[in-house]
């Protein structure tokens, strides 16, 4: 008996980081901690889909899962806070993923913020249109945030459509968005929507209705939202109303505020040393920010920080070692600072 899907995800992540990080880097990833280290790890080990998929999981619950999995000998704590999968664990994971595969369109890193706003707006919009269609004016909005209410008011004012037309268009767009993606089950999302006559299901109820554990349902639900978001971004012209739903909810990319400040100063021409002195931060911290920038900005210029020669040598070294642990790479290119190795991994990590 597997218990819950969170365990599969933890196992999967442990499998990916393969001895190179402590187990808590997995916790921070699933929790969505916005630290440079967590962000780098997410990219380095290709775990970005799972960034912040379980934001409300507590450390206590996480430890509980570890204890349980240790007890059944799926994982082994070979050094304090360092866990690895046993053969039994690998088998269990394989078995589990066969039964309940990882949702394919999950993209926690890209959409963890947007999907929250998207759901709040979409569910309220649907409820409001439904009550308009049923000519029911006395109901309680299912979403409680004032911003969401204000947004809706604005949305209705801007679209200025007859209710029938609006309802039909929203219907068409949602169907269009969901219908052509083969790997999702739209009913998971639709069953959670509230209308004039039926109130939507809670996550717990929906999971029960579709006979799956709540953690797995949560991921499936997220993956539907992420699918919709990528479809909307792919063809905004065909989906004008849904595109409007995500407008002004966009956060360009997800960087820490501190890293954004560093970016501004870099653009003004300051050096790492100068920024560190100016901001009263350690040099290390500024370097973390720059690695974060490298991960986030497609147009990041590595040449400013690493010479072409070093880039080539480090890249060569990365290919030679099987591990992504920095110290192993460093033994091959002892003259390259860790910072440069991290930058090369950040920029070329996937292709190496």
């Amino acid at each position: 008996m597997f218990g819950c899907y969170k365990k599969s995800i933890i196992l999967y992540c442990l499998h990916r980081i393969a001895d190179e990080r402590t187990v808590y880097s997995v916790f921070h990833l699933l929790n969505g901690k916005k630290s440079s280290q967590t962000i780098q790890d997410a990219f380095l080990f290709q775990l970005t889909p799972f960034f912040r998929v379980y934001p409300s999981m507590t450390r206590l619950q996480f430890d509980q899962h570890l204890t349980e999995m240790t007890k059944v000998k799926w994982i082994l704590e070979y050094e304090p806070s360092q866990y690895r999968l046993t053969d039994l664990g690998r088998e269990a994971l394989k078995e589990q993923l066969k039964k309940q595969p990882l949702p394919v369109n999950l993209n926690g890193w890209k959409y963890h913020q947007l999907s929250v706003v998207f759901w709040e707006r979409l569910s309220l919009l649907v409820q409001v249109i439904s009550n308009l269609m049923y000519s029911n004016s006395k109901y309680l909005p299912i979403q409680r945030k004032k911003e969401t209410h204000l947004w809706l008011k604005q949305f209705l004012q801007d679209t200025k459509m007859d209710r029938q037309v609006l309802a039909q268009k929203v219907f068409n767009e949602v169907v269009d968005c969901l219908e052509n993606s083969t790997s999702i089950q739209p009913e998971f999302l639709i069953s959670r929507l509230t209308g004039a006559e039926t109130i939507g299901l809670t996550k717990e109820q929906a999971a029960l209705q579709y006979s799956m554990d709540q953690d797995y349902f949560e991921l499936q639900f997220q993956s539907i939202l992420h699918t919709m978001l990528s479809v909307i971004k792919e063809k905004p012209v065909q989906l004008p109303l849904l595109n409007k739903v995500i407008q002004s909810a966009e956060t360009e990319f997800t960087m820490t505020v501190s890293a954004q400040r560093t970016e501004e100063l870099l653009q003004q021409g300051f050096t790492i040393e100068e920024i560190a002195t100016f901001r009263k931060l350690k040099r290390n911290t500024i370097e973390d920010h720059i690695v974060e920038l490298a991960l986030n900005k497609p147009d990041f210029e590595i040449g400013r920080f690493v010479t072409d020669k070093n880039v080539a040598e480090i890249a060569e070294a990365v290919k030679k070692v099987t591990s992504k642990q920095l110290k192993h790479i460093k033994t091959i290119v002892p003259h390259a600072p860790y910072f440069e190795i991290r930058l090369v991994l950040a920029v070329f990590g996937d292709s190496l």
Binding site: E187, T194, T198
Partner: protein
């Protein structure tokens, strides 16, 4: 316009419920009023309706943020847009904005701690207040079960506002508490409108158990037998969840837990599902019920006893608002009161925490002026939880405002806490005595609220005798057919396009 017309036009009702009309006409005659109306009789209408007939604003002081939100929602559902709630949920900017436009709102809800801040009070003074409403007025009294130190200042505030026409509302208050309310608010020539707490359509039954296990089994049996909808009250979130899960496993479908620890969206959905008849049973903590205007709740079961009669009467009063026969069960197993004792101790700081506070005060004394900025520090240093912190801060602020000497603060505060603890403990004892007694439950309850009993009625209580048969469900619940597979597109069409299966 006569008030029945306003009732019909604004609220869509054709009749008043008991007490409402009397309170409203008294207020419209310009008399200050203290109204005690039992739960479920629609107290809020007593200020909403006169609000529409009076020129000026209605200011409603409400002790609980959730209660305030519920009342705002109700007004908005009825189409009233000119309503605002001023409380700690507002951001700094929102608060500034709200204060600036305060005179444009008809109904202004405000928490007592907001009202006492100087700039808010100054702004309130400039309004034309037609009616000043004190909701849950028993909070004013130290003898009340829900004393809020902030409420003590309402008398002063009322005076500052030029003694506007005032109505104090409560569902349950002994004569001692009522005297306190009138005195604190200095309500001269106050009209008291007191309605019985008795709800004659609710049968009251108490059952005793030796062990927790037996009690749990009985609850499951009752949930299977009784005609819903129903509510089961627990004092523990964890148990509410656990039993809800047990009930599901036992085949009692359509049951969900509800407590303050759930995500907001989940709470909203469950509450709405219950109102829409999609759920038959809620396993709840006392967080559930405020603002639930559901007429046809058929039973309320207490799996844990409440801390005092006032809460008990409110909670069972959620049943049978439509006037049809309903039943309240109290399930008691020996030692249940221990949990209540633990809970009240958790609400109050203990002696060691107060000593830590004393040390901290001694260090800060020369400079301490504004306690608010030390909230976090205080809660860390003294290990205070949220409820304890609120109470401590209230007391401390009072002390500062009165220029009290800190050297006696700690002994005074300890005394205050001891008194609160004793009073709460004796309220629990009263409940336990009631549970153990062999006299008519109803007469004893009425006696507690200083009402005289009425003649013998049918299905009164377990001591007078009642039959459970009328409360049983006629058919077994059908859980099978409810989850019939509906194609997602059809469901979406049903929601958005009002198209049923087969109609397109």
């Amino acid at each position: 316009m006569i008030i029945e017309e306003v009732l019909k036009e604004r609220f869509g009702y054709s009749h008043f419920r008991s007490g409402q009309k009397e309170v409203i006409t008294t207020l419209l005659a310009g008399k200050n009023t203290l109204a005690m109306l039992p739960t479920g009789t629609g107290k809020s209408l007593c200020y909403q309706l006169p609000g529409y007939m009076l020129n000026g604003q209605v200011v409603i002081v409400s002790p609980l943020l959730s209660l305030m939100q519920d009342q705002v929602d109700q007004l908005k559902i009825n189409g009233e847009k000119s309503v605002i709630a001023i409380n700690s949920f507002l951001s700094f900017d929102e608060k500034l904005n709200a204060l600036r436009q305060l005179n444009t709102f008809k109904f202004i809800f405000i928490s007592p701690e907001m009202l006492v801040t100087e700039n808010v009070l100054a702004r309130m003074k400039s309004l034309n207040i037609a009616l000043f409403v004190i909701d849950e007025a028993h909070c004013i009294s130290q003898w009340g079960h829900d004393f809020r130190p902030d409420y003590l200042k309402l008398g002063y505030i009322r005076e500052q506002l030029g003694n506007p026409l005032t109505v104090a509302l409560t569902a349950t208050a002994t004569s001692e508490v009522r005297a306190d309310i009138i005195h604190s608010l200095s309500l001269q020539d106050c009209e008291q409108i007191i309605y019985s707490v008795n709800r004659s359509n609710i049968t009251i039954a108490v059952e005793h158990f030796q062990h927790y296990r037996e009690k749990r089994d009985r609850l499951i049996e009752l949930a299977k037998r009784l005609q819903g909808p129903g509510i089961v009250y627990f004092s523990s979130k964890k148990l509410a969840e656990q039993i809800a899960a047990d009930l599901k496993q036992q085949g009692v479908g359509n049951v969900m837990p509800y407590h303050g620890g759930l995500e907001q969206e989940t709470r909203m959905l469950i509450q709405q599902q219950f109102l829409h008849g999609q759920l038959d049973l809620i396993c709840a903590t006392s967080a559930f019920g405020m603002g639930i205007n559901k007429e046809n709740i058929r039973y309320v079961i207490h799996f844990h006893m409440p801390m005092q009669f006032e809460s008990y009467v409110q909670e069972i009063g959620r049943a049978g608002r439509d006037g049809h026969p309903s039943i309240a069960f109290m399930l008691y197993s020996a030692g249940d009161e221990m949990l209540q004792h633990q809970l009240i101790e958790g609400e109050l700081p203990d002696e060691s925490q107060i000593s830590l506070l004393e040390n901290w005060l001694n260090e800060q004394k020369p400079t301490l002026q504004n306690v608010t900025e030390f909230e976090e520090e205080l809660s860390l240093i003294c290990g205070l939880n949220e409820i304890q912190l609120r109470l401590t801060l209230d007391y401390l602020k009072n002390c500062l405002a009165n220029g009290n000497d800190f050297s006696v603060f700690s002994s005074k505060f300890k005394n205050f806490i001891r008194e609160r603890l004793d009073s709460k403990k004796s309220k629990i004892e009263e409940m336990v005595n009631w549970i153990r007694s062999e006299k008519c439950r109803r007469l004893q309850l009425l006696d507690y609220f200083e009402e005289s009993g009425q003649q013998q009625m049918n299905d009164c209580c377990d001591h007078c005798g009642f039959s459970i048969v009328p409360f049983e469900r006629i058919e077994a619940e059908n859980t099978e057919s409810k989850h019939k597979e509906v194609n997602w597109k059809e469901r979406l069409a049903d929601i958005l396009l009002k198209k049923r299966e087969g109609e397109h």
